[in-house]
C-alpha cells in the first residue's frame, strides 16, 4: 500500500489549494479563499454579534458620560454667565465684555460637544475594526475546519494544513486533526487489509465465478478509496 500517502500537516501553511469544489454532501459550497478585506467577515452572525455588542456598549458608555460632561460644563458656563451679568448690570460699559465672555463660554461648550462626538466616532470605528480582526481569529479556524468537514462529507480524507499563527481555537483544531489522522490511518489500514485479502484469494477465484466477481468489486472499491485518501 505504498501508493497511499501518509497524512501530512503543513506548518504555517495557507489554505489556497485545499478548497473542495462544488457542493459537499449537504454543506454549502465553499468559494476559494482569498485574502480580501471582505473575507475578514467569514462568519457574520458570530462576528457581527460580538462587534455590535462591544461597540454599542462602548457607544452607550461614551454617550452617557459625554452627556454628563457636557451637562456639567454647561452648568458651570451658565453659572459664570449669571455671575457676570450680576456683576456688570450696573455698568453699561461692560456689556460688550460680558457678551463676549458669555459667547466664548458657549462656544467652548459647543467645541466640547464636537470633540466628544469626534472621539466617540473614532472610538467606534477603531474598536469595530479591531474586533473584526479579533473575531476573525476565531471565525477563520472554524471556516477552515468547516471546509475539511465538507471534504469528509464528500468521502475525501486528504492532507490537512495547520492554522495560521495567531489563530485562536488551536486546541479545538488539534482535536480535529487527531481525529482526521486517526480515521485516515484506519481507513488506509483497511485498504491494505482488503487489498492483501483480494490478492491472496485471487488464486482460488478461478474455481468460483462468484468469488471472482466479489474480488473484482473489492478491487474497484480499493482503487476508489485510495483516490479518496490522497
Amino acid at each position: 500500500m505504498s501508493d497511499v500517502p501518509a497524512a501530512t500537516v503543513v506548518q504555517d501553511g495557507k489554505l489556497g489549494g485545499d478548497v473542495p469544489k462544488g457542493d459537499a454532501g449537504g454543506g454549502k459550497p465553499r468559494t476559494p479563499y482569498k485574502r480580501k478585506l471582505s473575507n475578514y467577515l467569514l462568519d457574520r452572525s458570530l462576528q457581527l454579534r460580538y462587534v455590535l455588542l462591544v461597540t454599542i456598549l462602548s457607544g452607550v458608555i461614551a454617550a452617557s458620560l459625554g452627556f454628563l460632561i457636557y451637562q456639567q460644563s454647561a452648568t458651570g458656563s451658565d453659572s459664570i454667565a449669571g455671575d457676570l451679568a450680576e456683576l456688570t448690570k450696573h455698568d453699561a460699559s461692560l456689556d460688550d465684555f460680558r457678551d463676549q465672555e458669555v459667547d466664548k463660554l458657549h462656544s467652548d461648550d459647543r467645541k466640547l460637544v464636537y470633540e466628544m462626538v469626534g472621539v466617540g466616532i473614532g472610538l467606534v470605528l477603531i474598536l469595530s475594526a479591531y474586533l473584526v480582526l479579533m473575531t476573525h481569529k476565531v471565525a477563520g479556524p472554524l471556516y477552515k475546519v468547516s471546509m475539511y468537514f465538507d471534504r469528509m462529507a464528500d468521502g475525501r480524507l486528504g492532507n490537512i494544513t495547520a492554522l495560521r499563527r495567531g489563530d485562536m481555537l488551536q486546541d479545538f483544531f488539534g482535536n480535529f486533526r487527531e481525529m482526521h489522522e486517526a480515521v485516515r490511518t484506519r481507513l488506509q489500514t483497511d485498504v491494505i487489509t482488503m487489498e492483501s485479502a483480494a490478492t491472496a484469494l485471487r488464486a482460488k477465484a478461478s474455481a468460483s465465478g462468484e468469488l471472482a466477481d466479489a474480488l473484482d468489486a473489492i478491487d474497484k472499491h480499493v482503487t476508489q478509496r485510495k483516490k479518496q485518501l490522497l
Partner: protein, 356 residues
C-alpha cells in the same frame, strides 16, 4: 448527546477558558478603560462646575452686622450703656448702691463732610501713579493705566487709607486697562475700634445699639448658614457623582463579565460538543449525532460537522458491504477458513461495532 460528564451547571460555563476569557476580558477591559477615562473627565468638569457654583455662593454677600460705635447721645433709648465693674468691691455691703455717674460724653466726632472735589483729589494722590495714569470721577469706575496694574491695585486695596479715599469719593470699582476689574467692597475691612471710656475706677462701654440690631444679626447668621449649607450641598453633589461613577463602573464590569462568559459559552458549547464527537471518531466510534441546544451559536458549523460524520459513516458502510460480499463469496467457494478471510472478518466486526 450532551457528552459523558457534561452537566448543565454554572461550573461548565467556562468550557474553553482561553477563548471565553479572552473575549470577556477584552469586553470588560474596554468598558473599564472607557469608564475610567471618561469618568476622570466627568469629575474634572464636575469639580470645575462645583468650584464655580461654590464661588458664586460665596460671592453673594450676607448683610453685615452693624458696627457698634460710640455715641454722643445720652438718650437711654438710643444707647445701652454697659457697666462692667464699679471697682468698689462692696458687693453685698449695706451701703446703698449709688446710681452710676453718667459718663461724660465724648467730644462728638465731626461728620464726614468731605466735599467731592477734595475726595477725588485724595484719590488721585493716593491711586494715580502719574497724573496721566488715571482720572478719578465720582460714582465712575477708576480706570488705571499702568504696567503691572493688577499687582498695584491689589497692593493699594490693602492700604486702608487708599480704600477709604475711594469710598469717600463714591468710587466702587477699580479697573486696570486691559486687566482685571476689582470691587472696592472686596478690599479688606478696616480695623474696627470700640471707644472705651474710663471714668475713674469704672470702665463703661457706651456703644450705640440700633433698634434692628438683633434682627440684623439673625439675618446675617441665617445667610451664613444658608451659604454653608449650599456649599455643603454642592460638595455632596460632587461626591455623589463620583460614587455613582464608581458604582456604575463596578456593576457594569461585573455584569459584562457574567454576560460575556454566557455569550461566549454559546460558542464554546457547540465546540465542546463537537470535540467530544471528534474524540469518539478518533477512537473509532461513529454513533448518532444529536442536535445542539436552543440558543447555541455555530449552527451552520455544526451542520458541516454532521455531514462530515455522515460521510465517514457512509465510507464505513461501503467497506462493510464489500467485506460482507467477499466473505460470503469466499465461504461459498470453500475458502472460509483462509487466513485472509479471517482477517477480513475481524475488520468487518470492528467496523460493525463502530457503527453501533
Amino acid at each position: 448527546m450532551a457528552g459523558p460528564g457534561y452537566k448543565r451547571s454554572w461550573k461548565n460555563l467556562l468550557l474553553n477558558k482561553r477563548y471565553q476569557l479572552r473575549f470577556t476580558l477584552f469586553m470588560v477591559g474596554i468598558s473599564a478603560v472607557l469608564m475610567a477615562c471618561l469618568g476622570w473627565w466627568v469629575m474634572r468638569v464636575a469639580n470645575e462646575a462645583t468650584n464655580v457654583a461654590i464661588a458664586r455662593v460665596r460671592g453673594e454677600a450676607c448683610k453685615k452686622i452693624p458696627e457698634l460705635t460710640e455715641t454722643p447721645s445720652t438718650d437711654d433709648t438710643a444707647a445701652v450703656p454697659m457697666k462692667l465693674d464699679d471697682g468698689s468691691g462692696s458687693e453685698g455691703s449695706a451701703q446703698p448702691e449709688q446710681p452710676p455717674t453718667p459718663p461724660a460724653p465724648p467730644p462728638p466726632r465731626a461728620p464726614p463732610t468731605v466735599d467731592g472735589a477734595t475726595a477725588l483729589k485724595a484719590v488721585a494722590n493716593l491711586w494715580c501713579i502719574t497724573p496721566a495714569s488715571c482720572t478719578p470721577a465720582a460714582t465712575e469706575p477708576l480706570v488705571i493705566r499702568a504696567r503691572g496694574c493688577d499687582a498695584y491695585v491689589k497692593k493699594k486695596l490693602g492700604d486702608p487709607a487708599s480704600v477709604e479715599a475711594l469710598r469717600k469719593a463714591m468710587i466702587t470699582v477699580v479697573r486696570c486697562e486691559g486687566g482685571q476689574t476689582v470691587s472696592v467692597a472686596d478690599a479688606p475691612e478696616a480695623e474696627h475700634h470700640v471707644t472705651v471710656q474710663i471714668d475713674e475706677s469704672s470702665m463703661t462701654l457706651t456703644p450705640t445699639v440700633p433698634n434692628d440690631y438683633a434682627d440684623t444679626i439673625v439675618q446675617h447668621w441665617e445667610c451664613e448658614m444658608r451659604q454653608a449649607s449650599d456649599i455643603d450641598a454642592k460638595e455632596h453633589g460632587r461626591h455623589i457623582i463620583l460614587w455613582v461613577l464608581i458604582a456604575t463602573g463596578v456593576v457594569l464590569s461585573l455584569g459584562l463579565a457574567v454576560y460575556g462568559i454566557k455569550m461566549t459559552h454559546r460558542v464554546a458549547g457547540p465546540l465542546f460538543k463537537v470535540s467530544l464527537y471528534l474524540a469518539k471518531m478518533r477512537d473509532g466510534r461513529f454513533d448518532k449525532v444529536y442536535s445542539l441546544r436552543k440558543g447555541d451559536q455555530l449552527v451552520a458549523f455544526y451542520d458541516h460537522f454532521r455531514t462530515a460524520h455522515a460521510g465517514v459513516v457512509t465510507l464505513e458502510r461501503a467497506d462493510i458491504d464489500q467485506l460482507k460480499a467477499v466473505i460470503a463469496a469466499a465461504e461459498a467457494a470453500g475458502c472460509g477458513d483462509h487466513e485472509a478471510v479471517a482477517e477480513l472478518r475481524k475488520t468487518l466486526a470492528r467496523k460493525e461495532k463502530s457503527l453501533e
